[in-house]
């Protein structure tokens, strides 16, 4: 377990600790800039566009009116999501955010609360998880744009690059800021448009990808990544990286060093993304707005199931219903079990339970229903040997006692609930073709 744990157990501090020296800071007014983003284009209000995190207690929500919210992210517990809509090589992502980020006054070592847009994540869309949006989770992230408050509560608006080509995003992440740019404070109680634009270039034969970030329409960071050879010191080797050919997914995560123990409302530390618009240039140089992801449809299907060759009358038959059907969705599944159109047995703890009493061959129909147009049927033939008289039982719960009766033997068995047994007696009908 330790080996496995080590794959994910890294310090977010490595990503949160950057510059502790004073830097000049710009403030851009939000109301001077806007991006056209209709509800149809707004990716922030559709939960089906985003993978939800599972690994910690940070809270990521998507509201169809107010958009995405990243909340309760504390030390070592980032809040992360990942766009489900595919991979992109050249694109522009525009986010309207309320960066209500706060730093703790006490108990924190570094005092930071940041948000990152991660991109060029080398993960097949069908394999992606929300956690892939964090660089160190799967070491697949090539770049990120960081905004918010970095170490010491200082504003930041910078790109960070990682050696995903070496499967190493843990310690090689580096902030980059060319001369002429200063960090912009977006933690001012106002909404801001934060945009990143990733596009290929060819400058006299030198190819690569240019990363540009804008806050409220003002360029705040840029970074060129040439197609070239790059050295990774941890793996101690050189890699040829063709950035212009890279395509990848997009994630967002938030990161702070609030210590545990504070209520989210007390921290008042969250990020809202009210609008999100994505334009892809991959198939059209003029750009195409990336549309909404459809709700994933999980069809329920029957699963091949081999029953036992036969069952003895009086013995309980227990079949786990999830063994009869395949369903990856999260909606509730209801089951109906019939024999000759009549209900048979009982469903307990997700198992179909039945005690046959009469010899014969029973065709049992199982129907699993997710919705009216999403159901599946499975059919089992259960052969029963021998016949027994229906018995009364004293056992009505799993932990209740039952008393074996009679002499001459040493068998003491458990019994099915009396209600089940009674039901069975009432509803079993042998089929004509047995």
């Amino acid at each position: 377990m330790k080996k496995i744990l080590s794959l994910v157990t890294v310090f977010a501090l490595l990503f949160g600790l950057t510059l502790s020296v004073f830097r000049p800071v710009n403030t851009v007014r939000a109301d001077e800039y806007t991006v056209e983003c209709s509800d149809e284009e707004n990716l922030a209000i559709n939960k089906h566009n985003w993978f939800f995190p599972t690994l910690n207690s940070a809270q990521f929500t998507v509201d169809e009116t107010s958009g995405m919210k990243f909340d309760n992210f504390i030390k070592d517990q980032q809040c992360v999501t990942y766009f489900r809509g595919g991979n992109f090589s050249e694109f522009k992502l525009s986010l309207l955010v309320n960066a209500n980020l706060n730093i703790p006054e006490k108990g924190a070592q570094w005092k930071y609360s940041e948000a990152y847009i991660t991109f060029l994540i080398d993960r097949a869309p069908e394999d992606a998880l929300a956690e892939d949006g964090k660089p160190w989770y799967a070491n697949k992230v090539y770049g990120s744009f960081c905004f918010g408050l970095t170490s010491g509560g200082l504003p930041i608006s910078r790109f960070m690059y990682y050696n995903a080509f070496a499967s190493n995003c843990q310690t090689s992440g580096q902030f980059y800021q060319p001369s002429g740019y200063t960090d912009v404070n977006v933690v001012d109680g106002k909404d801001h448009w934060i945009e990143i634009e990733i596009k290929n270039y060819n400058n006299d034969g030198v190819t690569g990808k240019k990363w540009i970030a804008y806050i409220d329409g003002v360029k705040v960071a840029e970074f060129d990544r040439d197609d070239d050879y790059y050295y990774d010191s941890d793996t101690a080797r050189e890699y040829e990286v063709k950035y212009s050919e890279l395509s990848g997914g997009i994630g967002i995560y938030t990161n702070s060093d609030w210590p545990g123990g504070y209520a989210p409302s007390r921290m008042n530390n969250f990020l809202e993304v009210k609008k999100a618009k994505l334009i892809s240039y991959d198939d059209n140089p003029e750009g195409e707005v990336v549309g909404q992801c459809a709700a994933p449809v999980f069809k329920i299907t029957a699963n091949e199931y081999q029953v036992a060759p036969s069952y003895d009358a009086g013995d309980p038959v227990e079949i786990q219903l999830s063994d009869l059907f395949v369903y990856e969705g999260t909606d509730e599944v209801t089951y109906e079990v019939t024999c000759n159109g009549e209900p048979i047995g009982e469903i307990i703890n997700g198992f179909w339970a039945w005690i046959p009493t009469t010899e014969g061959s029973y065709d049992i129909d199982f129907t699993a229903t997710v919705s009216e147009d999403n159901l599946a049927k499975n059919y089992l033939t259960i052969r029963v040997n021998g016949s027994v008289e229906p018995e009364s039982s004293t056992n009505t719960e799993s932990n209740a006692e039952s008393v074996a009766e009679g002499c001459g033997g040493s068998i003491a068995t458990t019994f099915f609930p009396i209600a089940l047994l009674a039901g069975v007696v009432l509803i079993i009908k042998r089929r004509n073709n047995e």
């Binding site: 496995i4 070592d76 719960e397 006692e401 003491a412």
Partner: protein, 528 residues
């Protein structure tokens, strides 16, 4: 159960035995925990010829394999006390946690410790003389206080502890905020723990192994001789060394690991601590037999018991596969005079390090019971499940527990696996003799134990789709008893967060006990 009823039951029971009938006395509010055997009874082999009824599978309890159990338990780390990780156990929640531990009669735990917890910087420049008064040494750190709290719980309950020195915690941040990083870790950055550094900041040779050995000695000395804990029965270093012992270049060199183990032993021998607590290892997770043989052969003069981390199987694995894997490991250890145990385990259905896709399933519950039966039949003496309960490990929630997180969302609800694992911990005992049982039915597996007090416990799993009729035959005189039957099946799975109580009784009589097993079920028969 009141005295009057008990008297009547006793009378009926006596009559029943006299006339050759089985009269069930199980159930009731507390009878399942009533020991039927109170003193160790001499066991002799009876001259009987049990007759197995037609259609019954004979499961014969023959001779012990010579091994004694060394505990069934779980990983429990001090994270449960770390509010810094958002683990809030109020008094009520802690009481419930303890109630479950008590109810399942947890026998053993493994818990992690790091040198950085108490030797927060190097004590001095010499690995030969531990300076306990150094300002860098603090056995009252928050981390150590949390360890004492856990050990106190174990001490009170006679829960045996494997104190596991996980390594050098490169990412250590003390809970008092004063220490960040490890003075002993090497420069490798891509793992949270590393092997001890072997060169200092200037590139000069550094006695990292000796310093680590000194740190192990210092902790054991403090816990055994100062704190006087008797619950410590095993310690281990760098479990899963094939992934946890990276040198500065990230390479886990087994030969270097062996070197460290030997230095640790030498230190403990020199300090008269060797033999006070057993050294276990390597707890490897490679699950590769040849590599494992290399471990045990090279550690044969160091480790007194061998272990593995096993995440190799799942509910679709056959009994034979599990048995064969364990048997090969047991034989490898036997060749060097050691026992084999499982220091952590689960299924191989990983989603990510903290999640497995089968975690909430009933099939997993039966699977875990089968692992115990098959490993034990093969000679395995101890098994710990990873992990007792869901808890925040700092940055992520470990969701592999026998029960879920505390709090409103999950309410610490027990998973199906709690009900099978707790039957194992409750109705076996540390130091029991193991009696392997062979089964000709691939769906049915069973193992028998004779507990230190002379009582017997049988663990039986039926992973088949139909009921099975079995005849447990035993010529052991001490086994001819009325026993309680505890059964877990899909339709009878409780949801009360407490161990399963007896559903009925059965009697081994004339060398035979017949019983019917439900499909896909786990049954414990015991007169503990």
């Amino acid at each position: 159960m009141n005295k009057k009823i008990l008297s009547v039951m006793s009378l009926i029971l006596s009559f029943g035995i006299f006339t050759g009938c089985t009269i069930g006395g199980g159930g009731g509010e507390d009878d399942e925990s009533t020991p039927i055997i109170e003193s160790v009874e001499k066991d002799v082999m009876l001259d009987l010829t049990p007759t197995v009824p037609d259609g019954y599978l004979q499961l014969s309890v023959g001779d012990s394999n010579g091994y004694k159990t060394e505990g069934y338990g779980c990983q429990v780390d001090t994270h449960i006390f770390k509010t810094a990780y958002n683990n809030f156990y109020g008094e009520e929640e802690m009481n419930e946690w303890l109630a479950r531990v008590d109810d399942m009669e947890l026998q053993s735990i493994r818990t992690q410790i790091f040198p950085e917890w108490y030797e927060r910087g190097n004590d001095n420049g010499s690995p030969n003389v531990f300076k306990k008064t150094s300002e860098n040494v603090d056995f009252n750190s928050i981390e150590m206080q949390q360890l004492y709290r856990l050990l106190d719980i174990c001490e009170e309950r006679n829960i045996k502890v494997d104190l596991s020195f996980y390594g050098c915690n490169r990412n250590f941040v003390s809970q008092d905020g004063l220490i960040k990083g490890s003075w002993l870790a090497n420069s490798y950055q891509n793992n949270w723990i590393t092997a001890p550094k072997l060169e200092d900041e200037n590139g000069n040779p550094y006695p990292g192994y000796e310093e680590f050995a000194e740190a192990v000695y210092a902790a054991l000395d403090h816990l055994l001789n100062v704190k006087k804990y008797t619950c410590l029965y095993v310690f281990s270093i760098f479990p899963e060394p094939n992934g946890s012992f990276p040198d500065k270049n990230g390479y886990c060199d087994d030969n270097e690991y062996f070197k460290l183990c030997k230095i640790v032993k030498e230190k403990l021998v020199a300090k008269n601590l060797w033999g006070k607590v057993t050294m276990a290892g390597p707890g490897d997770c490679a699950n590769d037999l040849e590599r494992y043989k290399n471990y045990v052969n090279n550690l044969k003069d160091v480790c007194e018991t061998n272990t593995s981390s096993v995440y190799k199987f799942n509910d679709e694995s056959t009994n034979a596969e599990m048995y064969e894997y364990a048997y090969n490991n047991v034989q490898a250890c036997k060749a060097v005079g050691c026992t084999w145990g499982v220091c952590e385990s689960g299924s191989n259905r990983f989603i990510d390090p903290a999640n497995q896709s089968d975690i909430d399933t009933y099939n997993r519950a039966i699977f875990l019971a089968r692992t115990v039966i098959n490993y034990t039949n093969a000679g395995c003496t101890n098994i710990k499940y990873w992990v007792l309960n869901d808890v925040n490990y700092g940055g992520y929630i470990m969701r592999l527990g026998l029960w879920k997180e505390i709090g409103e969302e999950f309410n610490a609800v027990a998973r199906p696996q709690f009900y099978t694992w707790s039957l194992i911990t409750k109705y076996t005992e540390f130091g029991s003799d193991i009696y392997p049982v062979q089964s000709s039915d691939p769906d049915v597996c069973m193992v028998a134990y004779r507990l230190p007090n002379g009582a017997w416990s049988y663990l039986i799993a039926n992973s088949g789709k139909s009921t099975k009729r079995i005849s447990i035959t035993s010529l052991h005189s001490s086994a001819q008893k009325v026993m309680n039957v505890y059964s877990v099946s899909g339709t009878t799975l409780p949801n009360n967060n407490r161990t399963v109580t007896a559903s009925t009784t059965a009697q081994m009589q004339g060398g035979i006990l017949n019983i019917t097993l439900r499909s896909n079920s786990f049954t414990v028969i015991s007169n503990k």
